[in-house]
Amino acid sequence: MSNNTVKTWAIETEDLDIFYGDFRAVKHVDLRIEPQRITSIIGPSGCGKSTVLRAFNRMNDFIPSAHSTGKVLFQGQNIYEPQVDAVVVRQKIGMVFQKPNPFPKTIYENIAWGARINSYKGSLNDLVESSLRDAALWEEVKDQLQKSALSLSGGQQQRLCIARALAVKPEIILMDEPCSALDPIATLKIEDLMRELSKNYTIIIVTHNMQQAGRASDFTAYFTMDADRAGMMVEYGETSQVFTNPRNKSTEDYISGRFG
């Protein structure tokens, strides 16, 4: 994990500890995310994968008991410093959730709303179209933009949520098990989309699906639970290396399906 080049990372954590009340959920996370690549975070249930992901755009702020120590650096700035407005952080670092959660509005409004509240100046129509095209959804919904987003299928809803995130022009997109509520075909579409999006965006994905991490990500971070039940990162590297030649015994056991 020692990297002394002056490379700029998409996001970087330094000795990040996250607590729920007195309980330390995650400890000593030093993670450097490659820009414009797909990084997957894998590990058994309860190891703090989602907690770490939410720490990247301060979504843990909404859990009253949650607090953290250490640093999360985005463009060299620790996003947990008091002068940082979490609203800006979340606009720059978007999020796609486990269950598709489109707003109960029209498809058009789902995309346009985020831009509008962020004082977007350009043409909303163009933005809606380009965001839907980028999310590979335009061809399917271009004739029904005024229909309710809830009328779409689960996979379409999830791509709509991705398009919605793209519309506010983020730099990083966090995905919290985005395919766990979808069927295999919809899952593949999302994975293809992620590959396409990684040309312009940094993508960090938490997944339970080992095959998904293996085929869809460039880098993989493996988390597990320590004896004190705190999650910690035990291995991080290029996906091909982590999957074929893990350095850690526990990683190997998990990837080969011996536990987890």
Binding site: F62, P64, V87, R90, G94, F103, P104
Partner: protein, 414 residues
């Protein structure tokens, strides 16, 4: 009995399960629940039927003045000017003056003049009345009774709940009394209550659900108190309203600071403010539940796009909670519409013929009229009280139906 395999069947094996006793218990409870529902339905039906029973029925009408002594031809055939002379010659000068003041007699319509003749000159009055079911089942009994006591009276069927009843003002004579003043008073009261309580209640609910940290001791104390306030007897709110709005803030509630003269604090504004306090806990708890029912995933989606807390509340939480909030609001209105005790304390007028003209008017409301009329000794007042109850029940039912329709629609959208 044994099966073809020589073993006992499953029916015989189960003999030690105490099945009979368990099933008996089950059917006992089923019957008990059915009975409870039945009792409730029967009680409500009896209540409604007894009100309807009072509000309709046969009446005996008798003229105080002999029609033939007043005019040779039936009054219905008299011309407009003849009716005016008839009124002027038969009523006291003072009464004619008052009538002229309201609207000059010569400018009044024929129908208007005829009703003055009927009510004030001939003075046809209901002298006896009979409830609906007796009227249908044993009309003979009433006819005999009337024939003995009031030989000149004519018997006819009267619906006490009629268009006239809705449009006329108070009167000492039951068949001429109406509840227009009370309906207007109730509406104005509800309006004030709504304008004050809705923004306050919804704001408080938003604060408690979205801003206040739910786990702190202070917010738990506030929450418990709001829940308890919903159960405080309404008369206590009346006393509070009397002490604060009628007495302490009388310069404000009487309109004195706004240049309205000649009032005390017993205005519709005081009553509306008191009513707002009364329904506030109901409104807050309902709005809180509605806000809590908005899925958290929507909030997170909104925050995830870089929305501020207010943008999240205004664009997502409130629109999705609105049907629930409105349902709670309508239930609160229903409560305010039917409340009597606080209005009596705050000082609703029991006899008032002038429509409320603004928030600084003295006023009456439908439940006050019902209360007032039921305390009168004459049977006819009980009949118009029953008619007023029907009006009130109808208004309540319509409000509640709207609430149910709204709720169903919001559930469909979710």
């Amino acid at each position: 009995m044994t099966s073809s395999f020589g073993n006992p069947t499953f029916l015989e094996q189960n003999s030690d399960l105490n099945l009979e006793k368990r099933q008996k218990k089950a059917s006992f409870f089923a019957a008990l629940f059915r009975l409870s529902t039945l009792i409730a339905v029967v009680a409500l039906s009896i209540l409604l039927l007894s009100i309807i029973n009072q509000a309709f029925g046969l009446v005996a009408i008798q003229d105080k003045q002999d029609r033939s002594a007043i005019s040779q031809v039936p009054v219905e055939q008299l011309s407009q000017s003849e009716l005016v002379t008839l009124i002027e010659s038969n009523l006291t000068i003072n009464r004619v003056k008052t009538l002229d003041k309201e609207k000059p007699l010569t400018e009044r319509s024929r129908k208007d003049l005829l009703s003055i003749v009927e009510n004030e000159v001939i003075q046809s009055r209901v002298v006896a009345s009979y409830p609906l079911f007796k009227s249908i089942l044993t009309p003979g009994g009433f006819q005999n009774e009337v024939a003995q006591k009031f030989p000149q009276a004519t018997i006819r069927f009267k619906a006490w709940l009629n268009p006239q009843f809705l449009t006329k003002t108070m009167s000492n004579i039951p068949e001429q009394a109406g509840i227009r003043t009370a309906i207007l008073g109730s509406f104005l009261l509800i309006l004030i209550t709504l304008l004050v309580a809705f923004p306050l209640g919804v704001s408080a609910a938003i604060f408690l659900e979205e801003y206040a940290a739910s786990e702190t001791k202070l917010s738990r104390i506030i929450q418990t108190n709001i829940d308890n306030l919903a159960g405080v007897p309404s008369i206590i709110y009346g006393i509070l309203g009397l002490a604060i709005f009628v007495r302490v803030f009388s310069t404000f509630t009487s309109g004195e600071v706004f240049g309205v003269e000649g009032n005390n604090g017993r205005t519709i504004l005081s009553a509306g403010l008191t009513m707002s306090l009364l329904v506030l806990p109901i409104l807050i708890t309902n709005a809180q539940e509605a806000i809590r029912a908005v899925p958290n995933s929507l909030r997170l989606a909104s925050y995830g796009l870089g929305a501020t807390q207010w943008q999240t509340i205004w664009h997502h939480v409130l629109p999705n909670a609105l049907p629930g909030i409105l349902t709670g609001t309508i239930l609160a209105i229903s409560r305010a519409l039917g409340e009597t005790a606080p209005l009596i304390i705050v000082g609703a007028a029991t006899y008032i013929t002038k429509d409320p003209t603004g928030i600084f008017s003295s006023f009456t409301a439908i439940p006050i009229q019902i209360y007032n009329w039921t305390t009168r000794p004459q049977a006819e007042f009980r009949s118009i009280a029953a008619a007023a109850i029907l009006v009130l029940v109808f208004m309540l039912l319509s409000f509640n139906s709207i609430a149910i329709i709204w709720r169903n629609r919001s559930q469909k959208n979710r």
